[in-house]
Subunit: 413 residues, 2 copies
């Protein structure tokens, strides 16, 4: 990206950090500058025209406010990334927040690792690191390890911790929005009942926002991925587990206790096999990649992991293809239940199953259409449910944790 102008002096940086924080935390949400800063923090670089459309401000108001924000080193002009230019003319300049005006951190708490991403308010990723901890790391040590990771990242970037606007934390279980506690986690039973914010805020000394992995992944798709500009969609993941999120009116639906979007635990057979969640016959037992991996490993008489299973199928192994398409069919049948309840306009498929491309997507879509109420043939193309693959195959939850902080401030307008 070609940055046209960028103030680098230390005092200017500190000025603009202070100014961003004051616009975000203290000033009237309604001022044109405040609205523009919040829009840019949520949506990333935009043209003046897009800022007008998004904020509803008049062209002249946007222009005056941008002039002031430029003088204060709050925003900078950039040439747009490729693909933003239309036609043959000179591409329109986009405006972004000054990258030095603030940073956000995303932290993913995995069963065996933690991942930490630092991004700035212009939406650029500055650092991405992973710490492997092993299965037996204790919940109590997590905040301290996270603080170390954060300190290292900021030291390497030569960035002041004062630039930090907040830390978003993604965890592998539903987070109750009423009390901030992790609820019935699947893969990480140690974390059940933990109040993430109360545990991490005193150690990190930062505003902490917490949500579950799938909800964070949906935020990543809305902010940078396959669902930019979409106010209503379903995010559906198929990996070693099955999960998802529902976005309605531009916000992730949490449910009263944080349990919304737990599509993998829709019980499709009340007399079926026992699930890790304590119910029977959950969709996850039929539609995750766990069983195909077991069967592929047995067939090849050696351990096969997800990446290899998909690579073998894409290379033409008919057995591995069948294992994936059977899973896609079961997943589509389960998603069809969600379809009859929600009738989404867009489904974003996440998780590593999406890496198989059409091999997985085509039977998923066909099974969805076969078993849901509103079928493709019932409606005009614009009223049919569209399916797209996630843009993030691996990084989505941690990027979404960054996005959660950005959106938190953006949504205040």
């Amino acid at each position: 990206m070609n940055i046209l102008r960028l103030s680098t002096r230390r005092e200017e940086q500190q000025m603009s950090v202070k100014r961003v924080k004051s616009l975000l935390f203290y000033e009237a949400a309604g001022t044109p500058s405040g609205r523009i800063v919040r829009t840019l923090i949520e949506r990333g670089p935009l043209s003046a025209r897009e800022i007008g459309l998004s904020t509803g401000l008049a062209k002249s108001t946007v222009s005056t406010a941008l002039h002031e924000l430029r003088l204060a080193s709050m925003v900078i002009d950039r040439r747009p990334a490729n693909g933003r230019s239309h036609g043959v003319g000179r591409p329109a300049t986009v405006v972004s927040l000054n990258p030095q005006a603030g940073t956000c951190v995303g932290l993913l708490i995995g069963a065996e690792h933690m991942q930490l991403i630092v991004a700035d308010v212009s939406h650029a990723v500055l650092s991405d690191r992973t710490l492997h901890l092993g299965t037996d790391y204790s919940v109590a040590e997590a905040p301290g390890r996270a603080a170390e990771m954060l300190e290292q990242a900021y030291a390497e970037l030569h960035l002041s911790r004062d630039t930090l606007l907040g830390v978003g934390i993604a965890v592998g279980g539903p987070v109750n929005p009423l009390d901030g506690r992790v609820l019935r986690p699947g893969g990480m039973p140690n974390w059940a009942g933990v109040d993430i914010r109360a545990m991490f805020e005193p150690v990190l000394q930062q505003a902490v926002f917490a949500d579950n992995e799938s909800n964070c992944s949906a935020i990543a798709e809305m902010t940078w991925g396959a669902a930019v500009g979409q106010e209503d969609f379903v995010f559906f993941t198929v990996d070693l587990g099955v999960g998802g999120a529902i976005v309605s009116h531009g916000r992730v639906v949490t449910g009263i206790a944080g349990g919304a979007g737990e599509f993998g635990h829709i019980s499709i057979d009340p007399a079926g096999e026992l699930c890790r969640c304590g119910n029977r016959g959950c969709l996850e037992l039929h539609a995750s990649l766990r069983r195909p991996l077991e069967l592929a490993s047995r067939r090849l008489d050696r351990p096969v992991d997800t990446e290899e299973l998909i690579a073998l199928a894409l290379a033409g192994d008919v057995g591995c293809q069948r294992l994936l398409t059977d899973t896609a069919e079961a997943a589509g049948r389960g998603l069809a239940m969600v379809g009859s309840a929600i009738n989404p306009g867009l489904v974003v498929l996440g998780g590593r199953a999406a890496l198989a491309g059409e091999l997985f997507m085509a039977p998923l879509e066909a099974a969805y259409d076969r078993h849901t109420l509103v079928k493709r043939s019932d409606v005009a193309p614009e009223a049919a449910t569209r399916f797209v693959a996630s843009r993030f195959s691996r990084n989505s939850a941690c990027m979404g944790a960054v996005g959660m902080v950005l959106r938190h401030y953006g949504r205040r307008c």
Copy 2:
């Protein structure tokens, strides 16, 4: 209701109708008077304090605007209905729109009948009539018959048609929000593909709003019923069919093609019996009152209808009780799937099954809790899913069609 002051002179009535229409259609949404009128039209009679809370206007602004609106005969003061007074003191006066300032019509299109309700902007029902047409009435004759019903109602009420703000129409199938057409109706196949608005607007000469029965019923619950003040809930009906609606952020979720909330057509057994919708093994086949009625009729060797089945069960007939509790269990198991996807804070049970009270509600709730992901025992009481019976057992869709018009204007602020 004790109306303290009410102008009845013809010219005053015409003035205030004009003024309401101008506030609703033409004036800046942001004026205090406009915001107050829209709040009253959506929510019905409120105290000055409640108006302040709902609009966010300062006490003095509300007071000045109400004074002007009183002078213009736009609003009137009333003593509140019973139950609105708190403690021993004199109950606070509530303000309502002048009933003469505007009327709304709700029209329900049934398989064999049409129902028409006239209400005024103060939320009082002025007229409620039903026209039986028989199963073979043609779609083409419906608008004309509706116009006759409307004309008769206004003539009997000695009301000018100029007071009419709009007609809400409830139909027994999903209505596509993109093109206004009825989609795959279950009980009324004749109506498939009909553009309700295009068909009724030229005949009724009024603004027409259309949605399906269950969505309208959810609006009735939000406006007058069991979900007043609730921004997020699931409405679930069990009657001869099974259906429902999802309300998120205070709005009914339509889905991309109008198919959201079709809980009865969640296919729970892909190899099951054929459903009227063309899928197999839909929830409706297991959880509607149709099969219990057949079994009760066979058992008693004469036709038994819904009301009698419920009356027999409530009177202690153990067979009829079992038919209802088995249905409640199947319905709860199906609703548990919706629960794992949405985790609602509130479920409003509608349809005539709700008339059986705890006999139906208790096994429904127990089956829901058994099969959904987040269980009552997992969370604090305030994070558990609450179940309440609908306030309307019969009239809900037609009342909701009235509410749809009121909310249409209310929501503009």
